[in-house]
Assembly symmetry: C2
């Protein structure tokens, strides 16, 4: 991660519904973890946060309040971390294996937190995590973190730091899920600005499919399925390069998503 | 449902990990629900169970023991209901909305159960359900139910009785999920016997996609993707009908599933 990518905004305090929260508000043993994906400078990024009392980065997460739907909990987490309200957000998997959260790791965090850990021991419980992924426009996000307790930063999905507990597995499962759903999920539409170039779109597909894609084959397929419309515009990126710009036909994606009928396989 | 489809096996008692179970064994507020799909007599079936104290059929389900992974809980439920150990089983969604289980419905069931409902009130808690679907070979299943408390039966997926709580929505979400994943999930392989006819396979795809599929188009596509191999055999089904038999090349499916790269879209 380059230093200019690591932005820690010092904002007025936002609720930190984690270690120092009253457990009676929440459903016990259930947490929510959010994979927030953005696209910037030619690469797919994931938003991570880190408690001051921990050495490891983790997925932004929280708990499900007794009067909340899990979707609402995930939206709350997203709002707290990104400042955004209206986000493409999907549940994708739950993570509930017995040993998924290392007990030692949490004991150490609890000690460092200076909480009275004779009284506060529910963070040492077993948790079943409900996994959500979110697709955001990088430029619209304002990273937010409670300065006293935590920091937040974007990381390239291919260059992540060591992660807390099973959070690497959660991220891998999210990208694998999106890979399988790429015929329905409007990844490009959600991650790119209104006007984009074909290499930008291909770059996202390559990151999610985890392999290079043939340039011509990709362009031909993308245009043939009718999700994407060429514009009569180019973007000036260098003395000799002015790639064509494209835009999405969102309705087509919506239809595919609603009926579960994809118009392409992910086999480029 | 025809009467010969409704089989209630009276077996030695199997554990009923539901209304009369000690709640301390389980993670609170978390349940597991299983959609068990089978194929029989030309239609897709779902296995349902019903408590004697309830008027409504429901999905076979249970809870997650404190020393169990959720996958193990689902396997336990499947074993208890079908007698089978080695089943194609996948988690597909979680269901956690606040009002998803009608309180009145459960109060009524609890009353009828003759349990001391001043003491036993945890079935009235809010539950987050972890949804699993299973694909089984209908003929291998031996329906099992605790004769004193419940019954079990197969229902045609298009002719289901009124269901408990949000279980209809859970089934609909399962079929929708399989519809989207049909390029990866070996539905035919898991549901059909080793040798099958093309109309049998098409029938399964039609049930999952929720619409008729053109016979010739389907056959051509199925053969071209290389998952299916024609055998040099026919089946005698009538004086003038002897459809060809086919078999699956399982390795191809395994590969698609492992790498998340589908070899066809679901757009027949």
């Amino acid at each position: 991660m380059s230093s200019n990518e690591k932005i820690i905004m010092e904002k007025e305090k936002v609720p930190v519904d984690t270690i120092d929260q009253d457990p009676d508000i929440f459903i016990p043993n259930v947490s929510v973890d959010c994979i927030i994906l953005g696209f910037h400078a030619g690469s797919l990024k994931v938003l991570l946060s880190k408690f001051k009392v921990s050495d490891k980065w983790m997925l932004p997460g929280g708990f499900v309040a007794k009067d909340e739907d899990p979707d609402e909990s995930a939206k709350r987490v997203l709002r707290e971390k990104t400042g955004l309200n209206d986000i493409y957000l999907k549940q994708f998997y739950f993570f509930g294996k017995k040993g998924r959260i290392g007990l030692d790791e949490n004991v150490e965090m609890l000690k460092r937190s200076k909480l009275n850990h004779d009284k506060v021991n529910w963070p040492l419980d077993r948790f079943i995590s409900l996994g959500y992924y979110a697709l955001v426009k990088y430029n619209e996000v304002t990273l937010q973190a409670d300065e006293e307790y935590e920091e937040a930063a974007w990381f390239d999905i291919n260059q992540m730091p060591e992660l807390y507990a099973d959070h690497k597995e959660i991220i891998d499962t999210a990208t694998f899920t999106i890979r399988r759903q790429i015929g329905f999920v409007p990844v490009g539409y959600e991650l790119l600005p209104e006007k984009f170039t074909m290499p930008e779109l291909r770059c996202i597909y390559e990151a999610i499919l985890g392999r290079p894609i043939d340039r011509r084959n990709f362009q031909r397929k993308m245009l043939s399925i009718g999700y994407i419309q060429p514009l009569n515009e180019t973007r000036k990126v260098g003395a000799h390069k002015s790639p064509n710009l494209y835009t999405f036909i969102k309705e087509k994606y919506d239809e595919a998503e609603r009926f579960g009928i994809q118009v392409m396989s992910n086999n480029f």
